[in-house]
């Protein structure tokens, strides 16, 4: 895996940018998604109607945002299990602090962001400076964050303020607002990762920290910051989630951890770190969400729904093990390493 990433770095940036849309990972996830939509149209047409999409896209958008956060950590060879606590804390701060008062929403969001930065720093320092295993460190921070969730909420849900419900739950030009938030996040993450010096360094460090260190890059700082960026994205997802569900529970983040990892993997990013695929990750979030809507729309019992989802997810990931001759022909040298 890594050798391929390194050969990529040797290519000029301009060429690389040009070739990103043709990456195998991107094509795979797009084709899988198209296939899923076609199957939906044939087997469960109601799952691709406007009403169904309008209702389910906000959740896809939230999965996309947490997925992008997880992506940044995975790129550094890490793993962030504090996602559940981070999202839940943002949810309870943005609902409990204002107590329904719109005027207090902005201070609440600022407070949530401050907490996210602190949590990200804690994760980052533990992992990059104290060299703790990422899974161990982030489980610990997750417990701390849940301590915060209980301190703020006592585990009790609160109703969202009307302003937040209007912002996160509203629509513009026929699309849920959350989708715009997700797209904006995608643009920012993609641009920084692919087009800025800092972003290129970030990916290079993920691909090979030792080599990066040898050429004088600040490996630890970038690794630390990955956790901070991730927490900021979880925070954003949490605030949006609080707006989308009128009365969110205090543990709303729990059900997002697994999907966040799934979309990163489906998007084609290696769990060993290195090159990231933000666009593919967002499409994978749509794929995953559409998959659960499909399973619901088919109207089979819950057990069968779970099996359908697991099988399709297994298929989606399994596709990467199939060799793609199309791409091999297009870029014969670069892809041989895979």
């Amino acid at each position: 895996m890594k050798s391929t990433d390194e050969t990529r770095w040797s290519r000029p940036l301009s060429r690389q940018g040009f070739h990103v849309p043709l990456a195998r990972e991107f094509v795979t996830v797009v084709l899988s998604t198209i296939a899923l939509v076609v199957i939906c149209r044939l087997v469960a047409p109601s799952s691709v109607t406007y009403g169904s999409l309008a209702g389910s896209l906000p959740f896809a958008a939230i999965i996309a945002i947490v997925g992008l956060g997880q992506l940044l950590v995975v790129q550094q060879g890490g793993f962030d299990l504090s996602l559940a606590g981070g999202v839940s804390l943002a949810v309870v701060i943005s609902t409990h602090y204002p107590q329904g008062d719109n005027a207090l929403l902005l201070p609440a969001v600022v407070l949530a962001i401050a907490c996210a930065i602190l949590a990200g720093l804690a994760n980052g320092i533990l992992v990059s400076f104290f060299r703790l295993n990422a899974i161990v460190a982030t489980i610990g921070v997750n417990a701390l964050l849940y301590g915060g969730v209980f301190a703020v909420s006592g585990g009790v849900p609160k109703t969202t303020t009307t302003l937040l419900a209007a912002i996160a739950g509203g629509q513009a030009l026929g699309l849920p607002n959350t989708v715009y938030f997700a797209l904006a996040t995608l643009l920012v993450v993609s641009f920084i990762l692919k087009k800025t010096v800092a972003g290129r360094r970030f990916e290079a460090i993920g691909a090979n920290p030792l080599a990066a260190r040898a050429v004088g890059l600040r490996v630890r700082l970038h690794q630390l910051l990955a956790y901070v960026y991730a927490q900021l994205l979880y925070c954003m997802a949490g605030v949006l989630l609080a707006g989308v569900t009128r009365e969110p529970t205090a543990f709303q983040g729990d059900s997002l951890l697994l999907p966040s990892v799934a979309v990163v993997v489906l998007g084609g990013t290696s769990l060993l770190g290195g090159r990231g695929f933000p666009i593919s990750t967002v499409i994978a979030a749509f794929f995953l969400n559409q998959l659960s809507q499909f399973a619901l729309a088919v109207g089979v019992p819950y057990s069968a729904q779970t099996i359908i989802q697991a099988l399709a997810l297994g298929f989606g990931i399994g596709v990467y093990s199939v060799r793609w001759t199309v791409n091999v022909v297009r870029q014969p040298r670069q892809l041989e390493g895979r």
Binding site: S47, G55, V156, R246, L296, A297
Partner: protein, 355 residues
Amino acid sequence: MRISVGQKLALGAASTVMALAFSNLTQAETPSWCGPKKASIALLDGYGGNSWRQVTTASGKQEALKCPSITSYEYADGQGDTQKSISDIKAMAAKGIDALVVFPDAGQAMLPAITSVYKSGKVIVPYRVSAGGKAGVNYTQFVGDDFKTDGRNWGEWIKSILPKGGNLLFLSGPAGNSQGLDELEGLKSVLGPEYKFINPEPFDVTNWDPALTQKVLTAEIAKNDKIDVIVSDFGPSLVGALPLFEKSGRSIPALATSDGNSLGCFWTDHQKNNPDFKLFTVSTENDNARLAVQWAVAEATGGKPPEETTFKGPVFENSVTGKPNPVKCRADLPGQIYLSAELSAEEQTKAINTK
């Protein structure tokens, strides 16, 4: 000291009045389930982390303190951890508490601890969730509730608003939960085949999670052009999802569910624009804890135990007839309180804001 006849009479009258008043007072303060023997009581929750539990706990406490023989009241929260719940029970017994009221969330796993406390001579009353076992062998008394009655109440109402039958959508919590299955049995005992359940058998799984409820409802709305009634055993979790009907240009359908302030207020705000939106609720049953406390106190203090061993949740709101209550909304108070509970709305607000 000389006292005139008139003064004597006045004094006599005054003392009689006082005595009467006092006896009235003691009568009002001492329910029949409260005996003369002094006792301490503890309420043990398997999981105390939501507003329903906090209101229920506060209700149990209020009930216990109605009895002057109760010398102390303790509370422990198992925090969803079976090990902690078990050690809480044992610790309370070891501390010398006479009567324990237990919400055994972990079910059968709690039975050994409950049995050992019972065998050591304490009064122990599990309630709401069955831990298995038998009264008089493993515990003093189990105070369950009756979800089939809820199902029947919903069914009767659905028949009254939809006499010719129609499409029903039934949502419950986690897959296979016994509450949902009992409710379905109650529903089916009243409703004939002309009422069609359009959800997958036995119910749509929501885990009582508002986000999942929203996703499930999205799929069902898109799939079914005609949904006449939604039946749900956790009304407030629907509040975020119901606007989906409005978004797809349809009226919110009739709703048979359990009560909650946020739901009542939602109905109040949305009924004008949604001609089909009728609301019928049964009590969310916070007062289940009261019956369990009555049993525990009666057994521990030598009072007369209540006749009932099952709490039957009463019907609460009916937007069509206004009986027994029209839909209630206290917009000035949090959405997470339950106006069907005996505990006053203000005290509930205090209970959920303590942490």
